[in-house]
């Protein structure tokens, strides 16, 4: 009988432990590789210090892999992931299919609101339908936007002013290339088929007045403005390295840092992390980063944000939401910008003096984010990008003329939309 009180005491201790201690939970994140992975890992490490009961599995996947894996998992409702990243042009598919948790409802339930500090145009992309009143399914993980960079020392050497228009850019590229010979290319951009070449082309296309769809959703890539833009692109490519059709992020970034090009018409904030590091860059203090030049239309930087969302099928939605708030907080946005060069999606972080000292081009990022243009909201963007990317590359290698390439791309895109 003496053993009964002892047993009761042991059970009480055991139960009280399980009742009052925080339950261990494991969050699985379908994240990106490269700098995005570094940034996410920094956020996860910081969170684990505050919440040791939470463990993480961070998947660092390529753009293609993350799309395939998340689509298959979310479609089957398996609930393998608790936090996912989605590339902006593919977000509509996820929103439309109802695969994502309704964040408005979760915020409401927790008695909180989405902070007004996020750039409103970016938050609107995370709503479905895409406007200020649609339901919120994600928040912008980072404020990624395409930018323009040029070498101030070379422009000064050749008596050139900062380019205001794409016509100025072409003239500068020609003059510098002629003067520098093979040692420095006039321009460098990505020419790999698919997303890279499309992303390089779109800011020019938009500035020349080109549009992918008209107001009725009909493809109009081959409009006179579109063809003029592609002819300009091909003219500009004459001052790019011959290997451009093979050039992707690594080649463009490394050439920029090595001082091998005068103008980089497409740079992304995450590529610029080492720009002012003398150990990695030969152009410290000699590169100006700015929003794209204009032409017949105003500067049109391309928004390339990644959405962060909680799948509706996640089995740990409460814990995921806690981490989600931490990930999108001001402090974590700054941490990811400092550690990995990921541009914040909150406006106030761009006022941080410490961050501006490290990333002096951030005011240009902020301007570009405000003026930025998103790719069309469609569920078939992968196909459009592949068709257009293939045609652009065929034009780049001289296989097709500008009008032939865009006429064919337009017809193929019209066919898939039927």
């Amino acid at each position: 009988m003496k053993k009964i009180p002892l047993l009761a005491f042991v059970l009480l201790i055991a139960f009280s432990g399980s009742l009052f201690a925080q339950q261990p939970v494991k969050l699985v994140i379908a994240g990106r590789d490269g700098d995005y992975g570094t940034g996410m890992q920094a956020a996860v490490d910081a969170y684990k210090v505050l919440h040791p009961e939470v463990t993480f599995e961070v998947l660092k996947l390529s753009g293609d892999d993350i799309y395939q894996k998340t689509v298959i998992d979310l479609k089957t409702g398996t609930g393998s992931y608790d936090i996912i990243l989605i590339d902006d042009p593919k977000a509509l598919q996820f929103q439309k299919a109802g695969w994502l948790a309704d964040l408005d409802a979760i915020y409401k339930k927790s008695g909180q609101k989405v902070d007004a500090d996020f750039f409103p145009n970016l938050v609107n992309l995370c709503r479905y339908p895409d406007n200020a009143t649609g339901k919120l399914y994600a928040l912008p993980f980072i404020g990624n936007v395409s930018l323009f960079a040029y070498r101030t020392d070379l422009f000064a050497k050749y008596g050139l002013k900062e380019p205001k228009t794409w016509t100025d850019v072409l003239a500068a590229a020609k003059k510098i290339q002629t003067g520098e010979g093979e040692s420095v290319s006039g321009v460098i951009f990505r020419g790999v088929k698919g997303n890279p070449i499309v992303t390089a082309f779109l800011p020019m296309f938009w500035a020349f007045g080109g549009e992918i769809f008209d107001a009725a959703g009909k493809p109009i890539l081959n409009s006179p403005a579109g063809i003029k833009a592609l002819n300009y692109f091909l003219e500009l490519a004459k001052y790019a390295p011959k290997g451009t059709p093979m050039n992707n992020t690594a080649q463009v970034r490394d050439t920029l840092l090595a001082g091998g090009a005068a103008i980089t018409p497409e740079v992304w904030p995450a590529w610029l992390g080492a720009l002012n590091d003398p150990a990695k860059s030969k152009v410290v203090g000699n590169v100006k980063v700015m929003a794209h030049p204009s032409e017949v239309k105003a500067s049109a930087p391309m928004l390339g944000i990644w959405h962060v969302a909680i799948p509706a099928a996640s089995k740990n939605q409460a814990a995921a939401f806690q981490f989600f708030q931490f990930l999108t907080s001001k402090d974590t946005q700054k941490l990811m910008a400092m550690k990995a060069g990921l541009p914040p999606s909150r406006a106030s972080v761009y006022d941080d003096a410490e961050l501006l000292a490290l990333r002096p081009w951030y005011p240009a990022v902020r301007s570009a984010l405000i003026a930025g243009k998103a790719r069309p909201r469609t569920t078939v963007w992968s196909e459009i990008e592949n068709i257009l990317g293939g045609s652009l590359q065929e034009a780049l290698i001289g296989d097709k003329s500008a009008d032939q390439a865009l006429n064919e791309a337009n017809a193929a895109i019209a066919a898939i939309l039927q």
Binding site: Q68, G243, P245, G390
Partner: protein
């Protein structure tokens, strides 16, 4: 020969022990093939779950799709080219290195090294070597006063460049298979032909190659099956570019299935590829088995 009564009596037992393996095979091989065949007659968008019967429309669409036709043509050219080169080089190397010599073991290990590497790693290295502006090959060409070559950016050379990587990686396989075949031939045959005054050429074409015929056919079959499925090299080196110069059927299927999630079209393309590889396999298998 008819089975004896005793064997017939044990048939249920044999079926019982075979059943698990048979079930796994049906599930992993037969079911997917039947499913793909069935899906190939449907318009099936995995993203939206829209699925309906369209008969042979996927086949007619694909056979009228210039990208698929280009993919198929490229695949056949790549497959035939790489297979012929790999098997020919394999036979030549096996003949050159026939017999015992000092350092043979070390040489064999070095020879199989390319096969042991991951294709993605191999492609990452070759991609750098092939780069027009910073690649080693063009650096060498330029340093000896020759013009640079657009290995992966010239639409007329890109497929050949992909094939060269495959030939580099898989010729050692052909070499090893032929080496093993050659080693299994009794040396007395060659000694006897030498005593009879046969020249090297006569021995090669009248004795060695006829004896190795089955191994060569098997090698052709294995390399055709493998090279027809080429995917990783295209994915890692060119993404099907420049233009559509290196599009292949596997890459086409991958894009339709995992970028667009159009499973009907990708299934139809898979069936066409399967039929092509199947026909080639049957041709070679019949040739091999006919002799047996």
């Amino acid at each position: 020969m008819k089975p004896s009564g005793r064997t017939r009596g044990k048939a249920p037992f044999y079926w019982l022990i075979l059943a698990p393996a048979l079930a796994v095979m049906l599930w992993l091989t037969v079911y997917p093939i039947v499913n793909i065949l069935f899906t190939s007659f449907q318009s099936y968008n995995y993203l939206t779950d829209a699925r309906h019967w369209v008969g042979i429309k996927n086949y007619t669409d694909i056979l009228g799709d210039r990208v698929f036709i280009r993919s198929f043509t490229n695949t056949v050219i790549y497959c035939v080219g790489t297979t012929l080169f790999e098997v020919s080089f394999g036979v030549i190397l096996a003949l050159v290195f026939y017999g015992e010599f000092r350092g043979k073991s070390a040489f064999m290990i070095m020879a199989i090294f390319p096969m042991m590497l991951s294709t993605m790693v191999v492609c990452a290295v070759w991609k750098t070597l092939y780069h027009y502006d910073i690649g080693l090959f063009n650096y060498i060409l330029k340093s000896v006063g020759l013009a640079k070559i657009g290995w992966l950016i010239d639409k007329d050379k890109a497929l050949i460049s992909l094939a060269l990587v495959d030939i580099w990686q898989w010729t050692p396989f052909a070499f090893i298979v032929m080496q093993a075949g050659l080693s299994s031939v009794p040396t007395e045959i060659f000694e006897a032909s030498a005593i009879d005054g046969s020249s090297y050429r006569q021995t090669l074409f009248r004795i060695t190659l006829p004896i190795l015929r089955d191994q060569i056919l098997l090698l052709l079959l294995l390399r055709i099956i493998d090279t027809f499925k080429v995917f990783a090299k295209v994915f890692a080196l060119t993404k099907g570019g420049p233009g559509n110069a290196t599009e292949t059927t596997s890459y086409f299927i991958y894009r339709e299935a995992f970028s667009y999630f159009k499973l009907g079209r990708s299934s139809a393309a898979s069936v066409i590829t399967l039929v092509a590889v199947g026909l080639a396999s049957i041709y070679y298998l019949r040739k091999i088995l006919r002799e047996d």
